[in-house]
Symmetry: C2
Subunit: 229 residues, 2 copies
């Protein structure tokens, strides 16, 4: 779920992973220009591997290359965020359904532990601790589905959404944290009951709630510009 190719295959693989990570983490903000020569110097390689890495990130939807002008970090428009959430709902719904049908597997145990940690963080109103936990929850659902293509498409999706930042923002809304935990518990219950479609719908409801909160949390603040430390 973390990387797309065999590890340490060459400079190219390393560069593309580092670049993707940097963009997702916010090291490069939306609109920033990614000069090939600058990146080449930074990573200590020539333009060629950088170029191929940028091309790959373009297909993944993270950057936009304007011919003979430059490569820029892409910022999803508000409309695009809506579109991505609609797809996210379907893919995670599928993940939950497939996981439910698999019965007790490694991921179910991990989900149990994850929900315990989330409950702790929720009781303490600790958004900083809860945020990565919810991220892990969604990740476990999809990984537990045991569908490699789903994992692939899902990763592209979350990359484009700059997911962590959005979720953190939405969790600060009052009451959302408790509601989120309740929704996740509902999904988990359906999963252990092997109720495939029940799990799918619980998951979809959860994603819809998440979308609603994210859109409201970012209503006036249109996925802000430039970088910000």
């Amino acid at each position: 779920m973390t990387r797309t190719a065999d590890p340490a295959q060459g400079p190219r693989t390393r560069v593309v992973d580092e670049l993707r990570e940097a963009i997702i983490r916010g090291r490069y903000g939306p609109g920033d220009s990614l000069s090939e020569v600058v990146l080449a110097e930074i990573h200590g390689v020539s333009r060629t591997p950088i170029r191929e890495a940028l091309k790959q990130l373009q297909v993944e939807g993270l950057v936009e290359v304007r011919s003979r002008v430059g490569t820029f970090v892409r910022r999803p428009s508000r409309r695009e965020v809506v579109e991505l959430f609609q797809i996210k709902e379907m893919l995670e719904g599928l993940g939950a359904r497939l996981l439910a049908l698999r019965g007790e597997v490694a991921e179910t145990a991990l989900l149990r532990e994850n929900l315990l940690r989330s409950a702790h963080a929720a009781r303490d109103r600790d958004v900083e601790a809860y945020s990565p936990s919810v991220h892990e929850f969604h990740d476990l659902i999809v990984r537990g589905a045991d569908n490699t293509r789903l994992a692939h498409h899902y990763r592209q999706l979350t990359n484009q959404l700059a997911y962590p930042r959005l979720v953190t923002a939405s969790l600060r809304r009052p009451g959302r944290l408790e509601a989120s935990l309740g929704e996740q518990r509902a999904v988990f219950d359906r999963v252990v009951e092997k109720d495939g479609f029940g799990a799918e719908w619980a998951m979809r409801d959860h994603v819809r709630a998440l979308e609603r909160e994210v859109m409201m949390a970012t209503a006036a603040d249109p996925l802000r510009d430039r970088r910000d430390p």
Copy 2:
């Protein structure tokens, strides 16, 4: 829905489209080696654009590059076909739901015409005429959803499935052609009724039926090897 970038931007765009088309059409069969120098000569360019095109096709899942060995046309395993159909079900279900909620748009009219053509072909038991028609039906559903990210992911999906060939194979099974038409009509009826979830489920049922037929039609014949004219 056809191309991924601006048209005629440069040799690279042309090459990647031609290559993709050639692979999907079966000009290069699964397992065939795609030598960069050979392709460069064929397309009259240097290795560089070819290389970038192949890298893009790799991300799209059409080819597999083995480091310092070669690039080969990827053949989806049986397991992978199942995985892809599971995702296809969700994405097309989403498309049908979104289209239904949009009400009367250009695509609905096109769908009406498409169903008429399909009915004609079905009456004549003309699989060769029906096959592209069913392809168009699915395409119109997704395009009509007016969700660019959905269209993007969907295209990757169908590319990997070598969709046309599989569908054609499945339609030859007795009775499948009529059943397919009935399922498509059900989807269309829900769409015109603006019944979003009804449309989603009708579409998902249709895709499931399609998957079942495809898997049975290719049961003993494991997505055959090499090229075949």
